[in-house]
Subunit: 539 residues, 2 copies
């Protein structure tokens, strides 16, 4: 069901309840930017440098929709799952934070029916868990200070400033108005013809001359005009009651501001198995949104994730296993669903619970709730093929152990995942060469230059530079000795090239360069396909 700020407080307990009883929880998110069309430029980076690059490239984008689909075994039929799905709009409303939007990403979302007015008007707030704790502590302290001051029942004149001569008459006039008000039967006096400095002086005058008699508070008039409202002081008991109600309301408001962060905490506390399809970016966004800026060090990041979520499974990585791979042509989510609907897979028995229900037929692609639901459906279908009974489909499942806590990695040629609980792959790249050449060169020219070394794979970096990987690695040793010397053309083993890539290069510069590269590479794509390799990731 759809979760907005209008029903969040009411539905939060149900969401937490579903997370607690789930065998697994499927997640999906929509972001404000993800450079969907870009190739990220360095297919032979280390996992650390790929992670750093991505963390910088995607800095500032945020999650605006979070889909949570919780699945548990039907207590009355252990061959069947029950499922409940929540589609949550997230938006840091009323806060000073700024975030980035990517034009084409917004285009994509609106063309898929995403309602931005709904997001901006009724998105549920969130903050980092650190901010949530800090804000709670600050509010509690402020409340106890205010309670103390109320108990003392004395004016605090220490911060008062002297009234400048030019303002004395104005302030005296305001005091006269208050005197008149006290002598009248009026319920409230509005002082609205004073500027900010004068209002400050009137607040002072009230503490000095009318302490215990009136209460003054700021009031907003039409068209943002600022004024102050004066009312008679209530009895100590009434004042106390008003104060307590105010504290309670402020605590409620703060809880609403912490918003979706409550769900993040519930997921972390439950230690439930979390699944997500192609979750490298999702996980980075998710962690950043709720725990603050990401660490630079990959191992710190892995620890951060694992400390919060000890059981994670990426269904895209699961599909790359040797049992499933031969049966899964494309791991794009809707294609995977199509695959799972047919032999040798099949649709699992799943009963959707709740007011609004998703089904595999409802075609709400790119709504986070639907995509999370579909991820869960596919996961059960794949698990059934792997002969995992429903009740074993959780974080302790032995048959899934080799896939657990491994995140599918796109963009690197020869490393397929990040291992959250161990070291990452370090494949040999002795058969890879970095080459530069005239910007007029096309793939054919590169192939001809390397013609003596067998079949090659080309990975373009920019107009005029590329990586070349030899299909037959045994040729690698002879390349530097035997390759032709052509003016304007350089060839360098990958390991040498890597050493030239100083990590000290200014981060901002790097980022800019990588964006420009991505733009160039996208411009390249706009050329007729026959002109050069199609860079799409599916070959």
């Amino acid at each position: 069901m759809e979760i907005l700020d209008t029903n969040f407080s009411e539905k939060l307990p149900e969401i937490v309840e579903c997370i607690r009883k789930a065998n697994f929880v499927a997640l999906d998110q929509e972001f404000t930017g993800l450079f969907r069309d870009s190739t990220f430029g360095q297919p032979y980076a280390s996992v650390q440098s790929h992670y750093s690059k991505m963390a910088k490239l995607f800095d500032g984008f945020i999650v605006i929709q979070l889909g949570i689909s919780a699945f548990w075994v039907d207590p009355e039929d252990e061959t069947k799952f029950q499922c409940r799905t929540f589609n949550i709009y997230l938006y840091p409303r009323g806060r000073r934070s700024t975030f980035r939007f990517e034009g084409s990403c917004i285009d994509f979302l609106v063309s898929n029916g995403f309602d931005f007015n709904k997001l901006f008007l009724n998105g549920v707030s969130y903050c980092s868990i650190q901010d949530a704790e800090k804000m709670k502590a600050q509010l509690q302290q402020r409340h106890s200070e205010m309670a103390e001051q109320m108990a003392r029942n004395e004016a605090d004149l220490t911060s008062h400033i002297p009234v400048p001569d030019g303002e004395k008459e104005t302030i005296d006039k305001a005091c006269e108005e208050i005197d008149k008000f006290l002598a009248s039967d009026d319920e409230e006096l509005i002082l609205d013809s004073y500027n900010g400095f004068q209002r400050k002086l009137i607040y002072q005058a009230i503490e000095e001359k009318f302490f215990g008699k009136v209460t003054a508070s700021p009031k907003e008039m039409e068209k943002n005009r600022k004024a102050m409202a004066i009312t008679r002081k209530k009895s100590p008991e009434e004042e106390k009651k008003i104060f307590e109600e105010k504290c309670e309301q402020e605590m409620k408001n703060l809880d609403a501001q912490i918003g979706v962060t409550h769900i993040f905490n519930a997921l972390a506390e439950s230690k439930v198995l979390i699944i997500c399809h192609n979750m490298f970016l999702d996980l980075m966004y998710f962690m950043r949104q709720f725990t603050g800026p990401l660490p630079d060090d990959l191992n710190e990041y892995k620890k951060l994730v694992h400390d919060h979520f000890p059981s994670i499974l990426d269904t895209k990585y699961l599909c790359s296993g040797e049992t499933l791979k031969p049966h899964v042509n494309s791991t794009v989510l809707p294609h995977l669903l199509e695959t799972c609907r047919n032999e040798p897979f099949g649709m699992p028995k799943v009963e959707c619970i709740g007011e609004e229900k998703y089904s595999v037929e409802c075609e709400k692609e790119h709504e986070a709730g639907y995509d999370a639901f579909i991820t869960g459906i596919c996961f059960i279908s794949l698990a059934t093929f792997l002969k995992i009974p429903p009740k074993e489909l959780n974080g302790n499942c032995k048959k899934l152990k080799s896939f657990k806590n491994k995140i599918f990695l796109m963009g690197l040629e020869d490393i397929s995942c990040i291992n959250l609980t161990g070291p990452d792959g370090k494949p040999s790249r002795q058969h890879v060469f970095h080459t530069t050449f005239p910007s007029t060169w096309k793939s054919g020219d590169i192939v001809r230059h390397f013609r003596n070394f067998g079949q090659i794979h080309i990975k373009w970096i920019s107009e005029g530079s590329a990586f070349v990987a030899l299909q037959q690695r045994e040729y690698a040793a002879s390349v530097m000795k035997k390759i032709g010397r052509t003016p304007g053309v350089t060839v360098m083993p990958y390991t040498e090239y890597e050493a030239t890539q100083s990590p000290a290069v200014d981060a901002a510069k790097k980022r800019k360069a990588s964006q420009e590269e991505a733009e160039k590479s996208s411009a390249k794509k706009a050329r007729p396909l026959s002109k050069r390799f199609d860079e799409s990731s599916d070959w």
Copy 2:
């Protein structure tokens, strides 16, 4: 009237026509961020450093709505203006550019009825004038290259790569399909079971084996599946016609992509008087959106503005003139309108032209078109009070000369405008001191510390630091000699403080600091007003 991508091309000539015949054009814009609530921290900066700081602080935000209201004297009644207003949604659709949003700014816009779905779905595109020229040149070159290749009527095999052994069978199969297609009566053949690399090889094979017989083009299938469509080659005449139509369509598409930039160019070419209310930020956003990143140097920026727009008038600055100031209490736009509706001002005779009309009654505040219209109405009302006849209300008006090309400046204590065509004010700041003190200090403590030097103005920088300006400047010389020495308190003349502010400090760091400062100062505001000075700008 509302301008979207659906009516932009049709309405552009009318917009340009209105700009050309106008006495003056009023502008207003809505942005994705403007830190509305913040004080910007350094009330005694130089104009250059204030400009630099603002340019950095607001980097990445964009204009999403542009209001243009053109006013000209009624040809049949020279006491009356005619006016036409356009409210344009702007959005860099389909482009890779990213931009920033500020949470509270979006909040403000949606609560004022701004329709973000309309913006994202149907906003008119734009680009910098440099990009517009570059894109036009590139497209023209591509068209002439394609025309040449068509004329040569030869396959270009130079970029072809050899077919790897593993793919030979697949490619042969595709060629057989094409052979069958050519022998059939079918109109089109769809090849959709090949990956990107295979499609590349099939395109090659077509150029090698079927050149002049078939045309192949990419085709998108359902669910983003990529395929290729094969059709029979047309006759050279037909091919030429199709090619010319394609070129024309691509030029039209490019024109739509350049979008609002056409209006920027029309405004610049017309040299018409441009008016805007409180236009410092508007002008920065406007120039950046259409001419690219702003120069660091203030004088370069002034030149950039003046070269494009030789006649600019800021109605907020106009109100600060000695004739008008006594009659204008508040220069916030709706307050100014209220003022102009009453004695000694009055509403001018203005006839709105066009399908949709604004009136001063229609209460569409914060819609850019309405605010531009209101700015124009107020301007005529003020000008009438200044005894300027309608036909003289243009860029050459002598009575407005001292206000022309001066931009109202908020945030600096003692400099009221940027002068686009001359040097800016450099007021003496010998009466200003920088002071640091324990973070527990309130205004009263600072007043007491400076008690021997008359009335003071305090400008908070952060908890624990502030500027202090003496009302009676004659005391300035004695401050450093006579002020009490208190542990934990420092006092320093402004000029000395300024020298410690190295411009070499890393820009990003500065920006972060200034944001943090703004946040702190906003947090301060949330305290009870009686606890410290109200920092609002109206005293």
